[in-house]
Subunit: 169 residues, 2 copies
DNA sequence: GGTTTTAAGTTGCAAAATGCAACCTAAAAT
DNA sequence: ATTTTAGGTTGCATTTTGCAACTTAAAACC
């Protein structure tokens, strides 16, 4: 079975895997956040193969994560621009960067996210409840949503049996 | 150039790509969060090929994102357990699920994260400044960190030129 | 106006990763 | 003693990636 048809149901983590769960896509989005707009610039900055870049950009455009706009002033030029959807991914990128900096880069990362105005590091992204209080892992659970089918309900019932165990490993 | 040697420097987003930027890994971690512990269970729940699963689990163990523990009571059994590092990934998983639910699943996702006690949906993960105030995309920037090399500084200077433009696309 | 350069791709081919089924080994259950 | 179970590995076909060369259309140059 290929990854993309695991839970064709609307499982959000399964679907997000289509996007960032394949090589290069996350880096392409990062470049876009850094201001890269052009095909050749993505290639140069990342060192990605042109055919793969082509496939990735097509998919991102398809998913409305990038807008493909042909320049008016120079008809050769194409601009790939962030959309509302991809801009909305910023908190996740910050969270990923913070997590990776801490656990994969030994706390000494080469890049970090800062508050533009003050230059201070962004505090750690946290899960908060409705009251704004920070939640610990054990206080959070996954549950079936409005679009869950019976299979998925069963899946979560199995999971619930061990769920209490998860936060402490 | 292969993805893994882009910025061998400690760029956290480049490095996190080694983990979740390849097929299946994110789903394996999700399963672990749902309480899956055994090789055969990962295979059954995900439908992943056994050889690929084997490679993924090895890598996750290697990166200290899973502990591989042989059961005392039944020596055939191996348990893959979340570690401090992987448990710490929860805010990112919640953020990804929320984002995907909104932008990829049309707002009608089959699964969601809830507050265990009340059953209420987790509010949207946000980027906050030191004062706790929610920051907008335009107030956030990437910057070179302690371990950045000259190339990376140059990279960010180029980026700074267009940065002001990014938050609005 | 003819030639060269530039931007954004596509194409062909070798190497690597994935999907699938079958096989293997050690320990437990019968 | 044998069968089953858990956790893999192996071999092979298919797909994806990496790399270099080629293409096409629109500037830019002379």
């Amino acid at each position: 079975m290929t990854q993309n048809n695991v839970f064709k149901c609307n499982c959000p983590l399964a679907r997000v895997t289509e996007v960032i769960g394949e090589p290069w896509t996350l880096m392409v989005l990062r470049e876009a956040f850094l201001g890269t707009r052009h095909f050749n610039a993505f290639e140069r900055e990342l060192g990605i193969a042109r055919n793969v870049l082509s496939v990735r950009l097509k998919k991102l455009v398809d998913l409305d994560l990038l807008d493909r706009v042909r320049s008016e002033s120079d008809k050769r030029v194409v601009e790939y621009r962030l959309t509302d959807a991809s801009r909305d991914l910023l908190p996740v990128l910050v969270g990923l960067a913070q997590w990776s900096g801490k656990w994969l880069c030994d706390g000494r990362s080469a890049t970090r996210f800062i508050e533009r105005e003050t230059g201070r590091e962004i505090p750690r992204i946290a899960v908060r409840g409705m009251d704004g209080r920070e939640l610990e892992a054990r206080e959070v659970a996954m549950a079936p949503g409005p679009d869950a089918d019976p299979d998925l309900f069963a899946r979560f019932e199995r999971a619930a049996a061990v769920a209490a165990d998860v936060p402490r490993g």
